[in-house]
């Protein structure tokens, strides 16, 4: 049986992959955890904000962008896998994400 954390991670994985596939008009099969969002998908920070809002809305969390910006200064999220890990961490830790090593 899958743990609650595992379920959330799978759900967020689906959300992240679907989101970038749709936004960047790329087939899902062409995306992997190592895909660079800016260089390979031509993504941008507006997409990131939009995804963040979807995650916030879906899980009812109120992480501040200021906190997230500080986290990103320490640990940038350039790939799909990094954005996925960040999104999962946001759901799990909220504003405490600043103290989380991904």
């Amino acid at each position: 049986m899958q743990s609650a954390d595992g379920q959330i991670e799978n759900e967020i994985r689906e959300m992240v992959y679907d989101f970038f596939s749709e936004e960047c008009d790329v087939d899902r099969t062409e995306i992997s955890d190592s895909t660079n969002i800016i260089e390979e998908l031509e993504g941008d920070s507006l997409m990131f904000l939009s995804l963040l809002e979807k995650v916030r809305k879906r899980y009812g969390i109120g992480v501040e962008l200021k906190t997230l910006a500080r986290h990103l200064m320490k640990q940038p999220a350039d790939t799909i896998g990094q954005v996925l890990a960040l999104s999962v961490a946001i759901v799990k830790h909220g504003d405490d994400i600043l103290n989380v090593e991904l």
Partner: protein
């Protein structure tokens, strides 16, 4: 500072230390984030109030966001977007950019200038940072 349609001069005593450019489609920006999110996550209260008072507020909001993006590209580090504020003024035209001491001191920025324009639904912002440079 003197400007014409194709040339400009900025009388800064400090050298240019960074340039950032951002182009955003106004309708895409409007659709991407709900108003309450933009006016909380991306814009601070005073900035949101100023934008709401501008006639073409969707272009202005897009320009204000673009300025934050351009500053990010120029300095290369993430920051709280509400801290970097495009000053009011003409579009197209040159504007000031307000940045927090935390960033200007660390990056050695003494002044920031933006050029803002829009054409065919796209807003372009170019930001020039002047100063002595700092830790990177």
């Amino acid at each position: 500072m003197a400007t014409t349609s194709s040339t400009w001069n900025f009388d800064s005593e400090s050298p240019l230390i960074g340039v950032g450019i951002d182009v955003e489609a106004a309708d895409r920006f409007t659709a991407a984030l709900p108003l309450d999110v933009k006016f909380g996550m991306v814009f601070g209260t005073a900035e949101a109030r100023r934008i709401a008072g501008v006639v073409e507020s969707s272009n202005e909001a897009c320009a204000a966001f673009g300025a934050k993006e351009a500053v990010f590209k120029a300095i290369g580090v993430a920051f709280d977007p509400t801290d970097v504020v495009l000053q009011g003024g003409a579009m197209p035209g040159f504007r000031g950019v307000k940045m927090p001491l935390e960033i200007t001191a660390e990056r050695g920025v003494t002044s920031a200038l933006a050029w803002v324009g829009h054409d065919l639904g796209e807003v372009t912002v170019v930001v020039w940072l002047f100063g002595h440079g700092g830790a990177r």
